[in-house]
């Protein structure tokens, strides 16, 4: 899952790398980019927290990719079991897919508490390390 995160970051870092290279003349942009391609980095200083809208959009994307979800009832307040028609095993899968999407690991007891789309959004927005 860190692999995914580093791929995503790599794209945005390439543009920042050019700006850094301009201020540090000894390093050429090309060498920096080469270094980043071989050695994935995470810039903890870059970017801010995820916005609630983007979290919601990505969670919707995860749920849309999940075959068994009743797409017509997909709303921010939908319950996994009642509205989206999932059973408890499916809910585990959805939570795992959300974990993978945001590159976080959700402990068992907290994963059990996530039963609605809203709770998933709330949980991810409280996680500092989600990206």
């Amino acid at each position: 899952m860190f692999r995914l995160a580093s791929f995503r970051l790599a794209a945005s870092m390439r543009t920042t790398a050019a700006a850094v290279a301009a201020s540090a003349p000894r390093l050429s942009a090309a060498s920096l980019i080469r270094q980043q391609q071989t050695q994935p980095l995470r810039w903890y200083s870059a970017g801010g927290a995820l916005s609630r809208d983007s979290i919601q959009e990505r969670i919707f994307q995860v749920l849309q990719d999940f075959d068994k979800v009743n797409q017509e009832k997909l709303t921010p307040v939908a319950t996994f079991t009642k509205d989206l028609g999932l059973d408890s095993l499916d809910t585990v899968e959805v939570v795992m897919a959300i974990e993978e999407e945001f590159s976080v690991e959700i402990p068992d007891d907290e994963a059990d508490k996530i039963t609605t789309v809203k709770e998933a959004i709330d949980y991810i927005s409280h996680r500092q390390d989600a990206h």
Partner: protein, 99 residues
């Protein structure tokens, strides 16, 4: 059955995590699919199973979890080149859409 409900979900989560731990794309996808299908076929319809069937299914799921954890570790130790598909970040986690 209801007493072991949380236990089953816990086992399921651990099994999916173990399946996700394989480095090789094909193994990872296969074990994920297999775990999902097994659980839905047997433990998913818990109330229809007799107590003995359920405990047998649980025991075999536990045994398989141990096998998967061990084999995923071995698979990570001997990881080699990723598939062409995975080299494209768009598909890094499987069949995934670009953001």
């Amino acid at each position: 059955m209801s007493a072991t409900r949380t236990e089953i979900l816990k086992l399921y989560r651990a099994s999916l995590r173990a399946a996700r731990g394989f480095e090789t794309y094909n193994f990872r996808k296969y074990f994920y699919r297999r775990t999902r299908d097994r659980f839905h076929d047997t433990l998913g319809r818990g109330s229809e199973l007799s107590g003995q069937e359920a405990s047998q299914a649980l025991d075999s799921a536990r045994a398989e979890l141990a096998v998967m954890q061990r084999q995923a570790l071995v698979n990570r130790l001997f990881a080699h080149n990723r598939t062409v598909l995975e080299a494209d970040p768009q598909y890094a986690g499987g069949a995934r859409r670009a953001n």
